[in-house]
Symmetry: C2
């Protein structure tokens, strides 16, 4: 784990909820590595266009974030044209129930990256980035499944975004309450706490075309990471 | 369930993956009602500013989407100033493993809304919208927890966004494969299929300040909706 400090700029400096800001790069890496999809925002249209946000797959290698898409996709064309983009990855960990409506909240881990994306054109660089993206959503699949053909590679645009300008916010723990709301005579009977949200992998569903004797490979059954969590069912 | 058709404009017309586009409003409502948080994108700064995307809570009432935040938040100020915003809600349902890296995908439900948000100023309208937002993330909490004080209400900005310009995309089912990749001699031993991602509520964690005899209320333990799913554990 590195402890390099995130270098905030004006727009990546967290003003609301400063106590939830994380200042080291390992926190950024942890959120990006734990997420599955990102939300990519860009400005569409000429001049002062309108914002667009789309969900998409991604992967991280060091201080570079990669996203990919069809070369025909408007989003990729816009982002590849040297325009500013913004990427957010958020994991929702639970609902925070307070004694007051105003203090209801959520527990979460969130990373935001600002920058200008560059399109990869070198074949080896594209393949390396696609391996990162593929293994992020489906660890082990890059070496297991058929590699992209020349034609498939030509249809795929890959963007690289530097992680230099980024911010991380994390909220954990119980509700924050007004002192007045903790007076027993007022709220002694009001439940407050956190309802955790758990993300778990289900039973793999084989493709209908698959021969019956093909077993689910280890890289699918044994997926590591935060999405394999114990649920209330396994607590008994 | 209504079957009113979504009215696409140029930017809300889905060009990539048209077969995944849904054309009725009930599909839009279903995705928005099943999601928990949204991603709100806006353009920050004067003139041709840069895109920003933030995760935030929301709620839907009819054909209006509500989001809220602190009146001091830059995002709310930008969006409230009559500028264009874009909101996306995505539920990730599984990872699609193909016999080819190129055809790896995800199963998902995704709704995107474009429009100009308006800030609510009327007290009753704000309270009604906050009830919708609160009950979306924490059903039942609006009537159970202490209502907002005058001061708390003044600190809260609420934006309303019309759902008139929206698009929905859904992917379900097994991988789509090239015919060549289904030849048994080539890929007869390669597993392909879907690894479902399940979202389940964990055991409620009481606030440490809570008296021991306060039971978890029914609106917390019995949360309905798609996030209460059966996991592999309960399938035996």
């Amino acid at each position: 784990m590195t402890t390099q400090t995130l270098s905030p700029t004006t727009r990546s400096t967290i003003r609301r909820g400063k106590e939830r800001a994380q200042a080291d790069r390992s926190a950024l890496y942890a959120v990006l590595d734990a997420g599955l999809i990102c939300h990519l925002a860009f400005v569409a249209g000429p001049g002062a266009g309108a914002p667009v946000v789309i969900p998409t797959g991604y992967g991280r290698d060091g201080d570079t974030l990669y996203v990919h898409g069809s070369t025909g996709a408007a989003s990729l064309r816009a982002a590849a044209a040297g325009a500013e983009v913004c990427v957010n990855v958020t994991l929702l960990d639970g609902i925070v129930y307070s004694r007051a409506v105003f203090h209801h909240s959520v527990n979460y881990r969130s990373a935001t990256v600002h920058g200008v994306a560059r399109q990869l054109t070198d074949r080896d660089a594209k393949l390396a980035a696609l391996a990162v993206i593929t293994n992020h959503l489906a660890p082990g699949s890059w070496d297991y499944a058929r590699e992209p053909s020349k034609q498939e590679l030509a249809k795929t645009a890959v963007l690289a975004l530097d992680l230099g300008e980024a911010a991380v916010k994390v909220r954990t723990g119980p509700p924050v309450e007004d002192a007045d709301d903790l007076v027993p005579e007022r709220n002694g009977e009001t439940w407050a706490g956190v309802l955790p949200l758990c993300h778990t992998w289900g039973e793999p569903l084989p493709c209908p075309e698959l021969p019956r004797d093909v077993e689910v490979p280890g890289h699918v059954t044994a997926r590591p990471g935060p999405y394999r969590q114990e649920t209330r069912d396994s607590d008994g």
